[in-house]
């Protein structure tokens, strides 16, 4: 934002003490609730999450409602959780990224193949994988911001390209977990656990939570974060207010690519092996969008909290685990998730009526 120094000075000196906020004009209990939900977009998914955990806890008892099972759910959602964090950034700018899962899988394959095919030390391979993810993000960002192709189209293309490159480059070979354990333990680093009683926290889970907290802070309390919201809300207005829209978009897509590559590293930790045919490459985009939408983040951009996306991923994980434990047909899970998506957006619309 260097070339906008004068703008920034003007804005900073004229900033009133009181920051903009929603007036609480409605009265009555319903109005109060509506207002609380409007101000805290992550509250609805949190309530649903707690409700879901309680429900399955009551239904399934100690098997479900135990430290080991609840932390197991965290492990099961760690990949989608990280991808949802990446997806949130793009969706906040009113875009959508269909290539997140494919970038994650290709990055994990690069980390594995560079180590085993070219003999690169694993830590450096991990760095190369991350640089790769960032590079793909940069290409998408450039096409969106400068060439003005809609994000849906750009990432639809990038998704296919990356997935095909992944199959071609890897020759569809799975790198076995035993080989990685013996020769490149750093690749599996995020699979290591910290045990506290019955709870197991893998480093991957801790990384996911840290990532969400750091991104939440960055989005809420830094100039860059406010610019992301501003660009998502109204790019023209943001441009006029002195936000460098191109640079903001580039940074968002590069950051997204980097986080997807981190998700690739998380995948190696979770599955211990490197598999180019991992289904995350095919369905990871939909899974991450599902988490983001259930998390109450608006697909029109400029509204929502990254915590919501994390809760959204957790909600899906809790339902999947609970229904699996109950022995329900897996199709019921998909059916319920579908209803949740629609209900979440319906609730969001009701909350937005606050000012009506």
């Amino acid at each position: 934002m260097a070339d906008n120094g004068s703008y920034e000075e003007v804005v900073q000196t004229r900033t009133p003490e009181d920051v903009a906020h929603f007036d609480d004009e409605k009265h009555g209990i319903m109005g109060r609730i509506q207002h609380a939900l409007h101000v805290n977009p992550a509250l609805v998914p949190l309530i649903i999450l707690v409700f879901a955990i309680s429900l399955f806890g009551l239904l399934l008892g100690q098997r479900f409602f135990s430290a080991s099972t609840l932390t197991l759910i965290l492990q099961q959602v760690q990949i989608v959780g990280v991808l949802a964090a990446a997806q949130t950034l793009v969706i906040l700018t009113a875009g959508i990224d269909l290539s997140v899962g494919a970038i994650a899988v290709l990055s994990s394959v690069i980390m594995g193949q560079f180590t085993f095919r070219y003999g690169v030390p694993p830590t450096i391979s991990i760095g190369i994988g991350m640089a790769f993810g960032m590079g793909i993000g940069a290409i998408s960002g450039y096409l969106v911001s400068r060439v003005k192709i809609p994000p849906f189209i750009v990432t639809l293309g990038v998704w296919q390209i990356v997935l095909a490159a992944n199959y071609l480059y890897s020759r569809n070979e799975t790198i076995r977990s035993s080989d990685i354990r013996e020769n490149a333990a750093a690749l599996q680093f995020l699979g290591n656990k910290i045990q506290i009683g019955g709870a197991n926290f893998t480093y991957g889970v801790i990384l996911m939570i840290l990532l969400v907290v750091v991104l939440a802070y960055a989005l809420r309390s830094t100039a860059w974060g406010r610019h992301v919201y501003a660009v998502g809300d109204d790019p023209e207005a943001a441009q006029l207010a002195g936000v460098n829209v191109h640079r903001t978009l580039m940074s968002v897509y590069m950051m997204t690519g980097l986080i997807c590559a981190i998700a690739g590293w998380v995948m190696i930790g979770r599955f211990s092996s490197v598999s180019p045919s991992a289904s995350t490459g095919v369905v990871g985009n939909i899974q991450s969008i599902t988490a983001v939408v259930i998390g109450g983040i608006s697909l029109f951009g400029g509204r929502g909290s990254i915590y919501g996306a994390f809760f959204g991923a957790m909600i899906v994980g809790v339902f999947e685990m609970g229904l699996r434990m109950a022995g329900a047909d897996p199709q019921w899970t998909f059916l319920l998730i579908g209803m949740l998506i629609i209900a979440a957006v319906g609730a969001d619309q009701w909350i937005r009526k606050v000012s009506a």
Binding site: A36, V39, N40, A42, L43, L46, I47, V50, F51, I53, S54, L55, G57, L58, G61, Q62, R63, F65, S68, T69, L72, Q75, Q76, I79, Y167, N172, T174, R176, S177, S178, R270, F271, S272, S273, S275, P276, S277, A278, S279, T280, V282, V283, E320, M321, R324, M325, G327, D329, P330, Q331, F334
Partner: protein, 339 residues
Amino acid sequence: MKKLLIGTALVTMTTAGSAMADAHGTSACLITKTDTNPFFVKMREGAQAKAEELGISLNAYAGQIDGDNESQVAAIETCIANGASGILLTASDTAAIVPSVEQAREAGLLVIALDTPLSPIDAADATFATDNFLAGELIGQWAAATLGDDAANAKIAMLDLAISQPTVGVLRDQGFLTGFGIDTVDVNKWGDETDERIICNEVTAGNEEGGRTAMENCLAVDPEINVVYTINEPAAAGAYEALSAIGRQDDVLIVSVDGGCPGVQNVADGVIGATSQQYPLLMASLGIEAIAQYAEDGTLPANTEGKDFLDTGVALVTDKAADGVESISVAEGTDLCWG
């Protein structure tokens, strides 16, 4: 805001803390590649029937798509957390699933691979499967015997399963070539053969749509193809559609593997020349019996003599029996068919 969040969370969490006691008998898990393919549907029925008979509770899980390793990992974790005695697994990614299988075995569960051997095969406690190589060999021998002297200049289309070359696809493909009398070069992968008679290797994903597209691609390479190997009967049905479209359905020999009821019906109708029938119901019910036995006294199932797995049998189904190749009639195949 923060207080509100934490408060909401704590209140509801503590109310849920009261847990019910678990009724714990022997329980088993069945994890299949998908829950839409009739083969796996039949497998589940076989397992459920046997589980009810033995008083075992059974949970069935499946991936969203064939090749979905993530769902299978999550399912294995659920079975461990649920305290199941054993797992019957049809792996989507035979190498990638191994660490999860190790976890289950460390937790004291019996893991039996059904239908698809893991890589390595001894990653599971036991494998109950069709001898897929033999299944391929039978249709290969039958095709060669049926063609007679023309086998020497046959034009063969190989319609395989997937580019990731799952073991089951490799075994059937290489078995067929061996039975037909073609050098397989490396028996652990398909597509490296040099024999001029092989016109193409295409993948079908094991369904009608994939079979048709693959056959169309092969016919584009050489419209004179006269032998078609297919990974399974849905792929064979798709291939037949492609051949019908150019009017060549009657002068091409299609062979397949599976023995599902629609497939056997297709043998009766002349769509497929011969198919190797396998017995998924038997695989699943034997698997449940093995888990029950293991839960009772810890005995592990034994392998078939001379093989590193328990062979659940295979039979060639055709009404055009060929000399020197043992087969059963379509009527017999219909009695034994599944799906």
